[in-house]
């Protein structure tokens, strides 16, 4: 009863295989990128993009509603969420991202900050920035 059984081994192997193939898939699809951009999305809509690298420090405040915001900070090739008013602070704890395909996600604010290789056009949605 204490030892791992045959089914366990197969299952663990399958999960590991799936995890590794997914990981390789993400690595592969991201390595083909050329021009990198930071894309800031709220609720699935692109609200702002920045080209990478940025030579100067950029701070961009995404206003979610009256009281809530996320402060995006871009230095060189790296992006982080410096401050946020979300309860769990998961997005702030994540720290810096710098590779294409990486993303900072703030679930309570439905905010996604991702680095992309493809060119995505700023679709001119009304940007509430400070």
């Amino acid at each position: 009863m204490k030892q791992l059984k045959f089914g366990d081994m197969i299952m663990i192997a399958l999960i590991l295989l799936a995890a590794i193939s997914l990981f390789i898939y993400y690595q592969y699809t991201n390595s083909t990128s050329s021009a990198e951009q930071v894309i800031i999305e709220v609720d699935g809509e692109v609200i702002k993009t920045f080209d990478l690298p940025q030579n100067e420090l950029v701070q961009y405040k995404v206003q979610i509603d009256e009281d809530d915001y996320n402060l995006v900070e871009i230095v060189g090739n790296r992006v982080r969420l410096k401050e946020a008013t979300c309860p769990d602070q998961v997005c702030v704890k994540e720290g810096w991202i710098s590779k294409a395909g990486e993303a900072l996600i703030c679930l309570p604010h439905k905010l996604v900050v991702k680095i992309s290789g493809e060119l995505v056009e700023d679709d001119g949605v009304d940007v509430k920035s400070f």
Binding site: L16, A19, P87, L107
Partner: protein, 177 residues
């Protein structure tokens, strides 16, 4: 086992699971990636499944998720952690019921943990309308294997204590030794 005994035990298990879940929330654990956690409450789900059957386990999980959402005040987390908990207990129940011969408790616990993570990521991607959250899935799957294994070990240790306490009194053995 009478109805009242069962209701009492479900209540006790919900309380235990809630305490474990909230305790885990305030424990200072190293931060690896969003969604990586121990899943201590799964200990109780497994105990409920083993000693009280699938229906009780489902009840414990549903009540626990509801109450945890209200107690922690994070109602948005209710959707994705609820979906994770639900899928996890459904899969663990199915495997425990049908394929117990081929899996150990650790294996069932791992399956539950990985199912939890997959459901959670899927709901999160629906909620914020993006597929980029799926890039966390590989690390979540690996962490699910590790934490699931240790949660399973813990359940096995608990069974040494619980077997003589619970089995003789009111419960029919629901598993083969």
């Amino acid at each position: 086992m009478s109805r009242y005994t069962r209701v009492t035990y479900i209540g006790v298990m919900v309380a235990l699971a809630l305490v474990l879940q909230l305790l885990e929330g305030i424990m200072p654990l190293p931060y690896i990636a969003p969604g990586v956690k121990l899943g201590l409450a799964n200990i109780i789900s497994l105990i409920a499944l083993i000693y009280f059957g699938f229906k009780s386990a489902l009840l414990v999980v549903v009540i626990r998720t509801f109450m945890a959402a209200f107690l922690s005040g994070r109602v948005y987390s209710f959707f994705y952690s609820g979906a994770g908990a639900l899928l996890s207990v459904l899969i663990m129940g199915l495997v425990y019921w049908k394929f117990r011969k081929y899996f150990s408790i650790q294996g069932i616990s791992i399956l539950g943990a990985v199912a939890h993570n997959i459901a959670q990521i899927s709901v999160a991607s629906l909620l914020i309308d993006t597929v980029s959250v799926f890039s966390y899935l590989p690390i979540l799957m690996v962490s699910g294997i590790i934490t699931g294994y240790f949660i399973g070990l813990t359940v096995n240790l608990l069974r040494r204590v619980l077997d003589p306490m619970l089995l003789d009194k009111f419960l029919k053995p629901k598993f083969s030794k």
